[in-house]
């Protein structure tokens, strides 16, 4: 297989314009003859389905939740970036592009990232037109704030609920198209396989989660907007239903999986407190704009935070990174917290936490101002921990939050399977080895509103597609395979619950393929995952019936995939003998413990091709060519 990213030639700033002109158009009268399957209704899926339907295509939209309004994009708190330069700080498309490339530690494609920065401005315009209630200044203009890793205020926000408001915007556009009968909506459905005919993606097999019945859906193109795989760690900030199954099953059908070891550990989450814990809660990193991160200087200091005098506190981010201070990128902030806790300076019952203190901000701006900015976050924190952050510093610790890796896509967001497009967190394309804050919402909406509507048209107009219906043998074959898989899960009838296996897998991946990694640990993790996987297929218990609403069965299928996918992450981490962004191999670090890249050997995307159940996957390299930026060691001093 030869990877071709299909990056248009010409100057960086003109590539997208030129490409849009070069893409073939589908005659408006013919659009309704094409059915496009869009799986997932988060920011990418919701916006893509709505926009494609507006153009006249027939769209089938699927979501795992009971309503398309609930996808996990809804939980994004902080904001969305755009290069509007409304604050006159010298921001520009170029600066947003450069920050994103640098923040990703030079492991993303120049052309994709530049396009993202260009489109960022259209997104804000579109969202305002839809009625997204962004924060405003007194004069009625849009307000902005600066956000983790950026020195300009380019983040647009709606209190601490930006993701919710953007998603409800996309959802309302989608509902409008459902009412117009341009979109057929299928909630409570889970994708269990992609159907290929003639090597092209032509449909999907879904399970109706209410009846338990399998369903076949044919179309002319399939779009996966099914999010990231952070739940491979069991504990993460992702919603409970987030999974790798859609992308992993596409991988097994021939779509390459790119950079699976690139995961983001978010620095500001509520620390873990018990084994029964089902998820971790993120505290928006916008809190780092006003909160100061510190720990006691003395290891093992058990005094209450208010009893520790200033002179005995270590504001380690401010000391180590004077120009960025508490606003260093996520990977840097997370790793520093871990290092301090490993030195025994962590706080709280478990010693796995650092303080995030608002005392100075409250003294400077007043409690009212802080409450207005972060009130809902403080309230959420208090509900979970029973501590009041206005009076005592918050305790935070890093948690798995986002996965930069995903299915490999070209410039058109098409995977290595023709006709299978991948958008949002599910693809790998724009964030390199680390994503900057407020960039996920930007990418999801860029892909859905402004990229896919053109590139899918180009594909459909330029490709010969035979007529395929749900009776085609390829659908029958795929459905039988899914049936077999489900029957096999139900038949094990062992003694250990699905959650039990998931917790064990999560612990292995967190310990060995988390914030820092080493080769010996990764090798050990691989063996452990293989053993756990064998045990799963001998000892898992899935109660209930196949043809019923059965949440245990849903989870079992997802965990079965995670158990295979986890090993792919390990393989990818082992193959990348350098440190970059979220992938920190202890053998490769600078004297100041920063990630040390090896641009000569690893300036590429690792795209993995499935070779069969007991075969090693094959790695293909897409070299990353930087024509416009100079690769440098990231420094946030």
């Amino acid at each position: 297989m030869q990877l071709d990213a299909h990056i248009p030639s010409g100057p960086l700033a003109d590539k997208w314009d030129q490409h849009r002109f070069d893409l073939k158009l589908v005659n408006p009268a013919n659009k309704r003859k094409y059915t496009i399957i869009v799986v997932g209704t988060g920011l990418a899926g919701g916006s893509a389905a709505a926009s494609l339907a507006e153009l006249g295509y027939h769209v089938k939209s699927f979501c795992i939740q009971d309503s398309p309004r609930r996808a996990h994009s809804i939980a994004a708190q902080g904001g969305i970036n755009a290069a509007k330069n409304y604050q006159n700080e010298g921001d520009s498309i170029w600066r947003l592009f450069y920050d994103t490339i640098k923040g990703g530690d030079f492991r993303s494609r120049e052309a994709n990232v530049y396009r993202l920065a260009q489109i960022s401005n259209n997104i804000i315009d579109q969202c305002v037109a839809q009625g997204v209630p962004f924060a405003r200044d007194y004069g009625g203009l849009l307000a902005n704030r600066s956000f983790g890793g950026a020195q300009v205020s380019r983040t647009f926000y709606a209190r601490g609920q930006t993701g919710q408001q953007l998603l409800l915007g996309a959802y309302s556009a989608l509902m409008r198209q459902v009412a117009a009968k341009s979109v057929e909506m299928y909630p409570r459905r889970e994708l269990l396989d992609i159907v290929l005919t003639n090597g092209q993606a032509r449909g999907i097999i879904t399970r109706n989660l209410v009846s338990g019945k399998l369903e076949r859906h044919a179309g002319h193109a399939v779009v996966l907007c099914t999010g990231g795989y952070g739940n491979v760690y069991y504990l993460s900030t992702n919603a409970m239903a987030c999974n790798v199954s859609a992308t992993y099953r596409a991988y097994k059908k021939g779509a390459c999986f790119a950079n699976p070891c690139f995961t983001q550990i978010h620095p500001t989450c509520i620390p873990v407190h018990g084994t029964y814990q089902s998820k971790l809660t993120l505290m928006s990193e916008s809190l780092r704009n006003d909160g100061r991160v510190w720990i006691p200087k003395k290891p093992g200091d058990k005094r209450r935070p208010q009893d520790i005098p200033e002179s005995e506190r270590e504001y380690y981010l401010e000391n180590k990174y004077p120009s960025f201070g508490n606003l260093v990128p996520r990977d840097v902030a997370s790793r520093n917290a871990k290092e301090r806790c490993d030195q025994g300076k962590g706080v709280g019952e478990t010693g796995l936490a650092v303080y995030l203190d608002f005392k100075d901000a409250i003294e400077r701006d007043g409690r009212d101002v802080i409450e207005k900015k972060y009130g809902n976050l403080f309230q959420m924190y208090e509900k979970i921990t029973a501590d009041n952050p206005y009076e005592t510093p918050m305790m935070i610790y890093p948690a798995v939050h986002y996965t930069m890796g995903g299915l490999w896509v070209d410039y058109n967001l098409m995977s290595t399977i023709p006709g299978l497009f991948v958008a949002g967190e599910a693809n790998f394309s724009d964030h390199g080895a680390n994503r900057l804050g407020a960039s996920a919402l930007m990418q999801g909406l860029a892909d859905g509103y402004f990229v896919l509507p053109y590139t899918i048209g180009g594909y459909l107009a330029g490709t010969e597609l035979e007529s395929v219906s749900e009776d085609h043998t390829s659908f029958g074959d795929a459905e039988s395979a899914v049936n077999e898989f489900i029957a096999k899960l139900m038949a094990v009838n062992g003694k250990r619950t699905v959650d039990g296996f998931h917790r064990s897998l999560g612990q292995i991946i967190w310990d060995y393929c988390g914030m820092s990694r080493n080769n010996a640990g990764l090798e050990e993790a691989r063996t452990k995952i293989q053993a756990l996987r064998s045990e799963f297929w001998e000892n898992v218990i899935v109660p209930g019936e196949e043809a019923d609403f059965n949440q245990s069965l849903e989870k079992a299928g997802r965990v079965a995939d995670f158990l295979e996918f986890g090993e792919l992450m390990i393989l990818d981490a082992l193959a990348r003998q350098e440190s970059c962004g979220g992938h920190f191999n202890e053998a490769y670090q600078t004297e100041e413990n920063e990630a040390l890249r090896n641009d000569d050997a690893y300036c590429h995307v690792s795209a993995w091709e499935y070779k069969g159940p007991n075969e090693e996957p094959q790695m293909h390299k897409e070299p990353l060519v930087f024509e416009n930026v100079k690769l440098s060691q990231r420094s946030y001093k």
Binding site: R69, Q126, P543
Partner: protein, 253 residues
């Protein structure tokens, strides 16, 4: 302080929409007060699974109070006893050792029970389809800052837009009315200049859909506001009523 408590749970079990349901009693020991309510149900389900019994079906997803997928009636209150809290954010420290907790699905004629504590809230999507949007196709928008929106107006719109569509208002209302839900969307869009052109048709169409979908009407009981996890105010219902009257008079301003 964290401690372990012992509870008696009376939980609604119902195999499907057409079968008869009943309350079943379970004892739950060793429940940490740091657990969330849903984590407590997870623990009960793990135990049921290991005893080869059917786990309790309940809806959940984000577990951070924003997706709106979770929700049950706990001791007679939608989302339980704590104010402004979704069920996933309710923690067991709100309960005491020895308590009996009654857990039932959101009940309303419009919300069919799917299984145990899971209900079908798709009628909410149908109400939004009737008009809960601004008709703005992708691509044609002008620069975002050409529309000035006073901060106070934007804040009020945001107060209404904070609705998570969980359905607690319907479960809490003696009439099973969806008025708070509808009014939140009507208000969010009617307050903003972008939403004005469609304001009259929107309010009429959404209310019509609410009636058609077998939700009751509002009789100012204020139970919705009391149980709303996002504290959506009934001021929005008053605004909806004004919008409805204006629309009836053919006034769109």
């Amino acid at each position: 302080m964290t401690k372990d408590i012992r509870l008696t749970l009376k939980i609604w079990r119902q195999e499907g929409p057409d079968t008869k349901g009943r309350l079943e009693t379970y004892s739950a020991d060793g429940i940490s007060t740091d657990m969330s309510f849903l984590e407590m149900l997870d623990v009960v389900n793990e135990r049921l699974t290991l005893e080869a019994k059917q786990p309790i079906a309940f809806d959940y997803d984000c577990r951070e109070g924003i997706c709106g997928q979770c929700g049950c009636v706990v001791n007679g209150r939608a989302h339980g006893p704590e104010k402004a809290t979704t069920l996933c954010q309710l923690h067991m420290r709100q309960f005491s050792d020895g308590d009996t907790i009654v857990i039932e699905p959101f009940r309303a004629r419009a919300f069919k029970v799917i299984k145990d504590l899971v209900v079908d809230r798709s009628p909410f999507d149908k109400i939004i389809q009737a008009g809960g949007y601004i008709s703005a196709n992708t691509g044609g928008a002008q620069d975002a800052n050409t529309i000035l929106i006073p901060q106070d107006t934007a804040e009020k719109a945001m107060d209404a837009a904070a609705c998570i569509g969980c359905g607690a208002c319907v479960a809490a209302c003696p009439n099973a009315s969806a008025m708070l839900f509808v009014s939140a969307k009507v208000s969010h869009l009617a307050l903003l200049p972008q939403g004005r052109p469609e304001a009259p048709i929107r309010v009429q169409a959404m209310l019509h859909a609410m009636d058609q979908l077998c939700f009751g009407n509002c009789s100012n009981e204020r139970e919705c506001e009391a149980d709303c996890p996002k504290e959506i105010s009934i001021v929005n219902i008053a605004r909806l009523n004004r919008e409805y009257i204006k629309a009836g008079l053919g006034y769109s301003g």
